[in-house]
Symmetry: C2
Subunit: 408 residues, 2 copies
Amino acid sequence: MATSTVDELKKGPLHGVTVLDFSRVLAGPYCTMVLADLGARVIKVEKIGTGDDTREFGPFVEKESVYFSCFNRNKESIVLDIKSPRDREMLERLLDEADVLVENFRPGVMERLGYGPERLAQTHPHLIYSSISGFGHSGPYSELPGYDMVVQAMGGIMSLTGYPNAEPARVGTSFGDLGAALFAVIGIISALYSRTKDAQGTRVDIGMLDCQAALMETALARYDVENKVPTRTGDCHPSLAPFESFQAKDGKIVIAAGNDTLFMLVAEVLGNPGLAMDPRFLTNDLRCQNRPDMVREMEALLQKQPIQYWIDALNEEGVPCAPINTIDKVLDHPQLASRDMIVQVQGQSEKPFKTAGNPIKMTGVVDLDPNKPISAPGLGQHTEAIIAELMSRHNAYSFSGTDAESES
Amino acid sequence: MATSTVDELKKGPLHGVTVLDFSRVLAGPYCTMVLADLGARVIKVEKIGTGDDTREFGPFVEKESVYFSCFNRNKESIVLDIKSPRDREMLERLLDEADVLVENFRPGVMERLGYGPERLAQTHPHLIYSSISGFGHSGPYSELPGYDMVVQAMGGIMSLTGYPNAEPARVGTSFGDLGAALFAVIGIISALYSRTKDAQGTRVDIGMLDCQAALMETALARYDVENKVPTRTGDCHPSLAPFESFQAKDGKIVIAAGNDTLFMLVAEVLGNPGLAMDPRFLTNDLRCQNRPDMVREMEALLQKQPIQYWIDALNEEGVPCAPINTIDKVLDHPQLASRDMIVQVQGQSEKPFKTAGNPIKMTGVVDLDPNKPISAPGLGQHTEAIIAELMSRHNAYSFSGTDAESES
């Protein structure tokens, strides 16, 4: 299945790869969205009647779910009735041609449907069979349902996010789903790479909780070594200072100057070079220890001018800094625009909407075109075309069979 | 360079791939750590004298940085003096043998050193040249310094994280660095895959800000469609209810029951099935609208029993739920243990410490062994061995040259 019925122009690094996508909601669809952005052909197998649950998730544009369209751009949709023998036969043909299978059901579901990894390893040994689940397909928790919120709580990130004297906060995006999705993509593509050498498929088993642990940076090690439980630090880095937000005249600004040279530059820009010579602030360690003093001294100066004044002055000296942008500012950000990072997607309605594009920029490779709306499929939109394609291929195969000449 | 001086047993999917790693601090080293976990040989090129800045970052075990060891496990370290002609010659030889180059300097630095992507595309067209920077190597912001804290502020995640009536919070892990690292890994491996077909290297250019935008889930689209700026939601999902934390008798518990069936089960477990019939709570949309009432009604019941009671009862019915674990609980989590997700790393000291392992579980592939400490290299530990290896290979090459027979 080297060609695509959606777009003949895909020439990303995964061009020629076919992904059979049984996944729904977020982690799986985000994973296959990244694969599609890189040029893979993604055929989304949806359940008869309702399809992916997120087709019902708001907000909507002319009754089309923006949520669904966001993560299912550039895919094809086929509806199959898993109980119908004809559709099961179709599925076998699709599996013959697929390079990758992605699913994010609870462990056991695919087995009950007859498409478990053990069976497919026998019948389709070339296939890269990829599962994303809350806890992975082994271990005492594997049968439990694991949603983003559950693994954010269980995996430790909530205990580290928010202010020390307030309740733990959720990361404001589905960090549990998206982290797992990215590790799944990595597993899948590395398996594709490995398959070029030995022609063998494999099983990739991603647990969202595992991924949360892998994304805890040094927190686990710090606890193991220091025996102090790391906790929330609000808006500042736990071991760098200044590395936090400060009140300027008209709002908050982040300054990230974790070494002494940068702090000297900050002190100069703020108009008080002596700050960097203050015995309380001489080193990063001292600045961490005396953080409240440092913030007070810096804010006394920062409050004299507005955010943009400080951004310009700090940038001039090469000090890392930023306004705390709200989402409207992100959507209109000149850097993101110049990097083709804001694209348009549309479902079956006529009205496209904006969302983020593909952050993997590769020289000489077609990127998503920000000026051309990318379509997300209607439920079963490609069923007929895909079946016709399979049938014609099947007939072609029969032609080359032993009795093809006498029967043609 | 198919063999490794560190560990002959690596047989991950990237076994046989050599990565020349010029990166420092976090995003680059995390990227190459994932590549090493998957079996690649990673040669870390460190600057003479001090090496990677993070060798000075605390905490320390017997003067060895835990921070450095965390992200540089299973790599080799070579120290080269970029100003010495002999070392520059060595570097050319290393580039001849490398499949992937990773760097995370500010744009322009590699060019000034003489190792910019344009030059290497000419002399080493097989190479996958991967850069990670704050804003990518194009656009009006490309020259600005971009640290994790800067892109968390600029990219929108801080505006979405924390409680609505409090200040924006930082994600409690370096979401800006780690997100970019994962997209870089995806770009690199997909380029390796593509290279198996056309034998051509490529350039992968990852901007941390781009990656932040890509990880905003539906926030950009929601703003574009609804024209309301999404904001912080504390501990709850913006459009699902119940999907948040609740006060039980002895602490907080997360319950994630975003559909009506699950909410019915929650109501039953809580001992008041009527809650699911309450006109205020009949649908997810109604529960979102009447969230404060829903929380009040649920907490009145939840406060009668401790967390573990509810976890057991909710798990019994298949309702997604979790305690909000602190890092000590994560380190001792039975599911993570059973998935080989807690491994030991040690620097040059004798004392290993624990950190998270590799979340990409692949059937038939060697995983990190939780019982065997994985070493992180001392500064320049492998310089001599790598140079000897290059020399012997070079001599072998000369042997097969035109005048090898007469000169040997």
